[in-house]
Structures are given as structure tokens and as C-alpha cells.
Amino acid sequence: MTEFNLIQIAIAILFLPLVGFAFVLFLGKKIKSAYLVEVGILILTFLLTAVLLFNKLYWFADKNIVSEFSWISYKNIAVFGNISIDLGFLLDNLSVIMIFTVALISMLVHIFSIAYMAGDKLYNRYFAYLGLFTFSMSGIVLTHNILMMYVFWELVGISSYLLIGFWYEKKSAPDAGKKAFLVNRIGDIGMFSGIMMLFNTYHTFTFEKIFAQMASGTLPFNSEFWLTVTGLLLFCGAIGKSAQFPLHVWLPDAMEGPTPVSALIHAATMVAAGVFLVCRIFPMLTGDALFIIAVIGALSALIPATIALTQNDIKKVLAYSTVSQLGYMVMALGVGAYKFAFFHLITHAFFKACLFLGSGSVIHAMHHEQDITKMGGLKKKLPLTYATFLIASLALSGIPLTSGFLSKDGILQGTFAFGSLTGYWLFPAVGFVVAMLTAFYMFRLIILTFHGEPKNKEKYDHAHESPFVMAMPLVVLSALSIFIWYTPNPINADAGLFLGKWIKTPSLSVPQNARYSFMKTDLVPEGKAENNRDISNEVKKEGTAEGKEVIYSEAYTEAMHHAHYPAMFLSLFVALTGIVFAFVFYYWKKISADKLARDIKPFYKLSFNKWYFDEIYNATFVTFTMLSSRVLAWFDNTIVDGIVNGAATVTRMISFFTGRFDNIVVDGLVNLMAYLSGFIGLVLRRFQTGRVQTYIVLVVFSLVIILYLFKTF
């Protein structure tokens, strides 16, 4: 396997789903079983990603493979100077692991959908959309420049829109699709502005070139403030796509789409694209930008977690949980725990996909009943679903021996270290509170759904375990929620290859004094550093010895080390507390949840009504937009239309005169030409006598002309 082979595989991975999309879209109506082609293509894609992942990590673990070609290249354009836009692939560990995750979950969702969507009248089109989504998502992950990423970003948006509104007969589904699309646009405007600022400064879209130029001192408008602004603008895209705090409102509504879609797009992959984007642009995020990102992440983690406590729709609970977990990752990135954020992204993708597919299995068994208050006792009817759901829930709650425990613990550890270094203890506090809430609402969900007495006897009796194609993905995904795939040591994630070798925090391009203090690299010469250890104790020396850029100071490493066990035990403690509370409330019923809800009614209502975000947005932004639209409409109707009508009158008058001109002069000229042609024809016809002698005369004339033209004197 050479690097070139890997690039070839990557190209195949990218375009195979597109082929499937085109095939199923165009032939789906004629061929009933076209979806099988799509599923087959996805299985093939998955196998290719497996090959890619293995070869990349085994042979080229320390190397970024780039393949690019110049798409547009202009020299000396006015204003911009030299412009070259390259398109290409970047295969680093980040992207191959991500593409593997995407392809795996996408394949499992395809397989799951075979049974889940059976009997739908747009069965084939559904698979076509899934193929389009997989193509777009692969594009985001594999590209090496931010322009292509933006293009695929929007493609992902459109496929998300199509899939949310898939059941378009229901009014709520297209509405939710529109909402998702529009809310995402708000974020994308920010992202696009950020891209334009980058291009204006660096004249390229390629990440590596941007970072290289930035490291050599070129900054947007030559100021670190604008670098912060650029980073935050790009982060706006992630806010929209990953449903972060102000723009998180679309994700719960997106649950109107088919459940496998929710699993694929709104839990595991697309919403992770925002986090992936932040990972990609991590080298250019200043300390200020990271801090704001951390705050937004913390808010996004906390608020949806409180909402999820009181929701009764099984998918809504999971949706808010997703927002909360994405907030977790963003917060982790904000506090500099890059590795753990990406780790959590992957682990979360697996167990959240498992939870969503499990909920899909439940909903399927209950004949599209989504209200958990009407379920109960399904443990006996759906043993396999229950088991996998339980494993995934344990992972999400952060119980040892699961992958979620490792990644969540890492994030908490990172916030803990951040708090100890900078004094912002709010972040670890939020982290632990959210961990407890997560454990609580997940077990509330499990108890209400699977334990206790069945509340809807009729539907309960008809419930049955899902077929193999639905069960298999659940088993695979729950298996991937176990720690063993990531590290051999169930309490230390760093021991495994995943964090120990494959995922490394990228070296920063941000100027030294714009970074977090613990990420500064001191440029003290090596020998001196040894002697003045107490002075430059913020320098991590091993890093310099290896010739690599130091990312974290020694203090940070130490703080992380110290934070490891406290964070772990604390997180385990809060998770268990949350689970115990859930059992107290809903299983043993020692405390009545309803009574408590009545006692703290304002809080309950706040949570139950999702903090009134939709209402607030309706009252402010939507109303304001409608009002301004009305004003603009009035302006349009009276003033603009008046101008237009006036212009129309003038135009009509001009037209009248030009019409006259046309009729007389232009038509006259045309008729004259026709008459002339006829006349000439009449004359020329006389030469066609059919007599040889006439022709000879003409030949003589022609000969004279030719001789004259070629005369030698």
C-alpha cells in the first residue's frame, strides 16, 4: 500500500455513495429493489474505509497524506494578487478515523432501515437521500481545504433537510426541515464570513497553507483580535451544525425525521461535523476564542440536559442528550482537551447511534408510539433491544468498562485541569452536574420504557422483537461502546493506541501571546532551559527534545495528571448518584416525581417547555423579522411598485415610438432587402441559360480576372 493507493481508496469512498444516490434516484421508480444497490455500495464503502483505516494507521500513522490539484490559478489579479484554489484530500488520523465512523454508522443505518422503513411508499428515495448524505459527510471529512468543506457542509445541510422532511404528508416534518435549514443558515453565514476573511488574508483555502502562513506571523488585519473574530466566525458554522447553545433549537425538532435518520445524522455524524470543524481549525483558535467556545459548550451542555429531564418523547430525550453531549465536546475543545473531545466524538457517535437505533426498534415494536409514559415493561418483549440500550446508556452515563466512561472522564479531567490552572472552576462544575443529569435522565428513560408495568396493554401485546437486520446494528454498536476497542486499560484512555499514538493535539499556529498561558511555547534555548528550570517551568522539555512543537506546558500536563483520579471518582460518583436518583424516583417510587414537579412548578415548567427558547425566538427574532418584512412589503407595494409602474408607463411610451420606427424604417429596410434579393435573383437567373457558350463567356471573364490578379508586371 502506497500513499497513492490510499488516495485512490479515498476517492472511491467519496464517490461510491454518490453513484448509489444517482442510481437509486433515477432508477428507483422503475426498479423496486434499487435500494439493495445502495446498501451494497455502503457495505463496499465501509470495507474500503476499513482498509483505509488499517493501512493509514498501521503504515502512515505519523504522516499526513495530501493529494491536491490546482482548480483555479490566476496570477496578479487586481486586489487579491495571486490566487490559487486547490482541491484535494487530506488523510490524517483524524479524518480516517472519522470516515471510518461515518461509513460504519451509515452502513448500519442503511441495514437497519431496510426493516424499519419497509412498506414506505418512497422507500427507494429514502435510500437515495441516505447515499447523498454519506457522500456529503465523506466530503467534509476527507477534504483538505475549507472551501470544499463549506460546499460539502451545505450539501450535508440539504440532505439533512430532505431527510427531516421525508414524511412530508405530516405538516410538522417539512416545518422541522425548514427550521433546521434556516437555523443552520444563520451559523453558515458566520462560517462563510470567516472563510472569506481567511481567504482575504491568506489567498488560499488549504488548511495547511493557512496554518503555515499564520505560524509565520500573517494575521487577518494584522491583529490578534481579528484572528479571534475569524475563529469565532468559523465556529458559528459549528454552532449551527452541532446545535450549540443559541442555535440548538432545530435539533429536537429534527426528530420528526425517520428514526434511523436521527441516528445517522442528528446523533452520530452530521452534528459531529461541527465538532470536527473545530478540531480542524483548532490550530488557529486563540485563547480568547477558545474561552468563548468553552462557555458556549458549557451552556449547550447544561441547558439541554435540564430540558431532557422532563421530556416524555423518547426521541426528544435523546435529542437533548445529543445537544448536551455535543456541548460537552465543544467545551472540551474550548478548555484545550483536544484529544478527549475527539475521542468523545467517536465514542458518542457509536453509543448515541445505538441509543437512537434502539429507540427506533422500540418505536417500531410499539407501532410508532414515541411517548415513554405509555410504554413500560418492554424488557421481556424486547430483550436484545433492552440489553444493547442498557449498554449504550451506561456508556452515555459514564460507568466504568464503557467507552463513554473513558472519554467523559477525559473531558472532565481536562476541565478540572483547566479550572486548577486558570481558576475557572465553573467548567468542571458544569461538567459534573451534566454528568449527573445525564445519568438521571437516561435511567429515567430506561425505567419508564423497559421496566414496570405496561401502560398500553394493547400495544404491548403486539410488540415483538425486531428482525435480524435491525438487531444486528444494535449489537455491533453496543459492542463498540465497550472500552476494549480503544484502550486495554479500562480506567486510563491514554494507555491505548487511540489516544496514545493516533490522535495528537495539533501544533498551534496562533501567536504566542494570544494563546492560553498553558499552551505557550517558550523559546528558551535547550541548555538554558535545563538550568533555569524554575524560571521556565512552563516549558515541557521532552517536546523540544523531540524537535516537535510543544503544545502544553508542564504545568498543564501535571494538572491533567493530578486531575485524573479525582475527576474519575467524582464522575463515577455523580453518575451513580444520578442513576440512584432515577431508581428512587421511577423504579421504587419512593418520591413521587409528579409531586416534586408540582412543588417546584416554575422549574418544571421551564424545563418541560424547553426553557421557552422557541417562544422567545418567536417573540423576538421571528416577530421582528415578520414586522420588518411587513414594513418592507409596504415599502415594496407603494414605493418600489410605484417606481416600477412609472418606469413601465415610460417604457410603454418608448415602446410605442420604437414600434412605429420598427414598422416603418426597420420593416422598410427588411422589405427592401427582400426586394433586392428578388431582383438580384431575377438578374442572376438570366445567366443560367443552360447554354455552354454563355458559360464559356463567363469563364473567359473569370479568366481575365484571375490573370489580372496574378499578373507579373
Partner: protein, 103 residues
């Protein structure tokens, strides 16, 4: 007084040639057209021999002239046969009445 040279012979031949063309294009009778062609052939023969003499080509030009005369004889025989055929077909030898080419 100019001594007689190549130019004089060429002048005679060009006038003769022009007259031949004139005859070909003006006369109605096919036999007269044939006569015009003979004039043109003679004009070209004069050219051959004049160039042979003044161009110092030895006898080559005269051989060519001989060939032209032979061709003229063959042509005259064929042409007259054709004329006779035309006469049989159209009952006239006036070429201006034979305008089947027009249709």
C-alpha cells in the same frame, strides 16, 4: 525598327487564340465552334514552336506541336461525329437551341 522577336510571334498567337475564343462563344453553328477550337489549337502550336526556337529547347517544342496536331485530328474526327449525332437527335446544329443543360 524593331527586329522580329519572340514577342511578335506571341502577339500573333494570342490574337489568334482570342479570335478562336470569340468564334467558339459567338457562332451558333456547332461546326463553326469546331473551327474556333482549331484556331485556338493553332495559336498554341505557334507558341510551342516560337518558345522552342527562342528558348533554345531544340526540337522538343516541335515534337509537342506535332502531338497537338495529331490530337487536333483525333478531336476533329470525334467532334464531327458528335455533331452528326446532335444533328440526328435535335435536327439542328445550333448550339444555342441545345439548352438541355438548363433543365
Amino acid at each position: 525598327m524593331i527586329h522580329i522577336g519572340l514577342g511578335h510571334f506571341l502577339f500573333v498567337s494570342s490574337i489568334l487564340f482570342s479570335l478562336g475564343i470569340f468564334g467558339v462563344v459567338t457562332r451558333k453553328n456547332a461546326v463553326m465552334v469546331l473551327m474556333g477550337i482549331e484556331l485556338m489549337l493553332n495559336a498554341s502550336n505557334i507558341n510551342f514552336i516560337a518558345f522552342a526556337k527562342y528558348g533554345n529547347f531544340g526540337l522538343q517544342g516541335q515534337v509537342m506541336a506535332l502531338f497537338v496536331i495529331v490530337l487536333a485530328a483525333a478531336e476533329a474526327a470525334i467532334a464531327l461525329a458528335i455533331v452528326l449525332n446532335i444533328y440526328k437527335t435535335f435536327s439542328t446544329v445550333n448550339v444555342d437551341e441545345i439548352d438541355t443543360l438548363k433543365d
